[in-house]
Structures are given as C-alpha cells and as structure tokens.
Subunit: 282 residues, 2 copies
C-alpha cells in the first residue's frame, strides 16, 4: 500500500522539538486543527483517541494508525491498518516498519526519530522503555551520526527552558485529554531540572490556569506532572472536583494542590492506568 501523504502536526512545536528540528536542519510540519475540509482520509501517528486528534476526526476515514498507547474512544466502520506495540516510543515501531519494508532511513529523519525515542523514554530511563527502544535508539543514533547520551541530554535540557513561558503554555505544551468513565481528565507534563524552582516561581499561576481550563472545558480533574529529568522523579499539581479520586488512585494525600510522585516519569504507564481504573470503577 503506497499513498501520497503530507505529514502534519496537531500542535505547535515545543522547545525540545525545535531543538531537534534545528539540529537536523528541518522545517516544522504544518499544524492543523481540522482535516475534513482538505482530505477524505487520514493516518494517525502516536495517538488514537478521538479527543486527542483533529476536531472533525469523525468526518474522515482513518486508513491506519501507528501507536504505542492504550486504545480508547476509537472506532471505525471499515477494516484498517493498525499497528500498536507496547514499547516506549512510536518511533521505535516506525524504525521497525522501515526495516520490514527495506527502506533506508535518511540521516535527518533518523535524527528526528531518535529525538522522539529520547523524549518519550527520558533517554531510555522511563519504565516504559523496552529492549526494542534500546535497539532502535542505538541504530538511529548511528544513522543520525550523533552520540546517544550527549545528544540525548542536550535535547532533554533544551525542553526544560521554561523561563519565557506563561503558566498556560507550561500547562498545555504537552497535555492530553482523556475520557475516563463519565469524566473528562486533562494531564499535562513538563520536564525540568529543578522542580522546586518551578513551583516557587509559578505554582499559583499554574493553579489559576488549571481553574480557568476547568471552567472552560468542564474537566473533573486537571493534573500537571512536573518531571525532574536528572533525578527521574515527579511532583504533580492537581486541581478539580475529582481530586479525591487522584488520592485514591495513588494512595497519597494532596497537600496544597501538590503531591510527590517518587520514581514517576511516565504519564502513560504510571499515571493513566491507575486513574482510569478509579474513574471507571462502578
């Protein structure tokens, strides 16, 4: 199956992605919010849930999906290509598909895919990391002609420079909405090298931005996971009427809207499953 296609993005590039694009001398893809006004068919990469996709996803045909997340709020009326594997990064699956198809990965594309693996797995330290991610990262680093560790740390640090950002931007730069049972939950994540520094400078503004978001979009819970990429720990800021469900899911009290999550670095593997469990328990 070969098909003309244009790669597009669902959100503006963040500092980490911009670093990778600049490093490998590539332009950012066009950002879209709807698709049906331009095309009949789409192919989803790195997501499947309707509320994480274009606003009019139900008006186009999903020809295929390559992803590494849970499957939810996703349905089709026709058979499709769907390739999901429980690995740390969708780029790891993409690198396998290149191999299976016998297509060589160009240097700059290998660099971007490597950046995705590093970003998703926090330089292979997240509990989501699998042997396949290690293999892919090493092969991609060779193709991209960079040192995995040196480039990886540079990339992650580029993403932690949030001094110029508003609270709203920090909250939304890497945020996803989930439907859990009857509730809407939003979970953002931001990487830092100094959790306490961010809290001291922005905690009140962040909580206000979370309250605004709850008012606007009717979330039961908004969470911001602040992750220390050197220590591999997180602190979460939590707001919303369903905050007790968060406490139940992790057996931890929330104090002044914050809670320490020792050893937590993965939203997908460490935050989402226990929350889904609590919200869908009858």
């Amino acid at each position: 199956m070969s098909q003309d296609a244009e790669p597009v993005a669902l959100g503006k590039v963040n500092l980490e992605t911009q670093f990778a694009l600049d490093y490998f001398n590539l332009e950012a893809p066009r950002v879209i919010e709807t698709a049906a006004d331009e095309v009949d068919n789409v192919f989803l990469v790195d997501h499947n849930e309707a509320q994480q996709s274009v606003a009019d996803i139900d008006q186009v045909t999903v020809l295929g999906v390559v992803d590494h997340h849970r499957i939810a709020n996703f349905k089709t009326s026709d058979p499709l290509y769907y390739r999901a594997e429980p690995v740390g990064s969708t780029a790891t699956i993409l690198s396998k598909i290149y191999k299976e198809q016998g297509i060589e990965i160009p240097k700059s594309i290998a660099g971007l895919m490597l950046s995705a693996v590093i970003s998703d797995t926090l330089l292979l330290k997240s509990p989501t990391t699998t042997g396949e991610d290690y293999r892919a990262a090493e092969e991609l680093a060779e193709l991209a002609e960079v040192s995995l560790d040196d480039y990886g740390l540079e990339l992650l640090k580029a993403g932690t420079n949030i001094s110029s950002k508003t609270a709203k931007e920090i909250l939304n730069d890497d945020a996803k909405s989930f439907t859990m049972g009857k509730d809407k939950v939003r979970i953002g994540q931001v990487n830092v090298v100094d959790i306490d520094g961010l809290l001291a400078a922005k905690k009140d503004e962040l909580i206000q931005a979370m309250r605004d978001q709850i008012q606007e979009d009717d979330y039961s819970l908004v969470v911001l996971m602040i992750t220390d990429i050197i220590e591999n720990n997180s602190v979460a800021i939590v707001e919303g009427t369903a905050y007790r469900k968060f406490e139940m899911a992790f057996s931890k009290p929330i104090q002044m809207n914050t809670v320490e999550l020792e050893g937590f670095v993965s939203r997908k593997k460490q935050l989402v499953p226990p929350l889904t469990e609590i919200f869908t328990r009858s």
Copy 2:
C-alpha cells in the same frame, strides 16, 4: 515477547473447519465461553469487538490483538500489541508475522492457515481479497503440500453440506453480533451451492428461528446472508423491526423477508459498513 499460551476457540467447529482439521490430522481446540476464571491475560485473534469475545472480556487484560476487521467496542487501559491490516484473512497477517520472526510454519499449521484464507476470501474471489492474500495462499499451499484450487473447492464444498442442520444451527454457525448506534444487529452467513434449494427447504423455519432470536436477545435486525460459492452471489433473509434500515442501506426492497444481493459475498466489506452508516446516522 514470548509467552506460554493455549489456543482456544469461541465456538464449536463447523463442517468446513472440521474438514480442514481432518485433512491435516489435527484436533479441534477447546471451546471456552469465559476466561477470567482461568487466566488474567488473553490475546484476541480475528476479532476485537467485546460482544464477539468471551462473556467476561472486561475482566481480563487484553495483551494483544491480531485482526482484519473494523475496530469497535474495544478499549484498554494499558498499551498493548495490536496488529490489524485491511487484508482478506487474519491468517495472511499471521503468515507475515511468522516470516518477520523467522519461524518456519509446520505443514499442518500451514494447512489450517491456508484453509482460513480460502474460507475468508471464498477462494480468493471475495472483494476483500488483496495481493497479500494471494501471496500468502500460494506460499501456504506449497508448505501444506496441496493444490490451492483443488483443496480450496473441496474445503468450501464441505462447508455447504447443511442437510443435517436445524434452522437454528444454520443461523448461528457463522454469525456475529454488532452494536450499531443504539441497535443490536446479528448477521449470519452460510455458504451453499444452491440458494433456491435452501430457501425452498428451510425458509419458513429460518424466519421462525430469527424471530425466536429477536425475542431472546432483543435484536433490532437479524440477517442471514446465503452465499452461492460457485456463482459468488448472495440472497439475504431479513427479519426485525429495523428492516427498513436494511432497505435504505442497500436501496433494495425486501420481499417476503428476502432480498437478492448480486455480487455480494463479504459480510465484512459489503454488508457491515452500509448498515453501520445507516444505524449511526443521526
């Protein structure tokens, strides 16, 4: 990922499957109706919709899926392995996975996989058939040491011997339940070499069996697709309060509970998508 597993079936083997098992000297797998009483984890093959699986599918973890159907009524709380391709048979995808893993397919397993491809694609004549199914069928026939065409016709004919079957058995031997919008729809399929002969002998009994099923399980529509495997045509028997939706979906009047479907052989590709479209139209 390697894991101990037992292959099990969700229904009793039909005549076609029994022919393939006998031909390659294999036993039928054990039939199960529930899973949570025995295991924590399952891997779904050739289906994903909850109502087509074990009754307690929401009480076990779905580790993975290999399938070639639409995705609907399927959700997980954790990432998983999911491999779907829009090909004619799940066995075609399985044969690719064997290759990718570098595992040789034993003769008798190749024979069963070949039988699945032949059954799903009506010997490669269904509109669902792709180039990949052709390739898989030819390779599997060689491994199974049979002639694709001769064995294929024998297999399909074995499935058409319904003289000893009750109407209820004919209706349910290869039937699937679908949730379409708010309605429950059941679609059975039976292969024959003489559609008129079956209608003359069993039509009244079949309609009565369909009415019984509607009473028991609250279907809005029950359809039996009777497919002529030589001519590649079908006639459908239709019963249920939503019969007008069937007429709208295919722009054909139902007369005395039956409707001719020229060129129709695929439930998945030719019946399900237009029906889904009509039932989910707001």
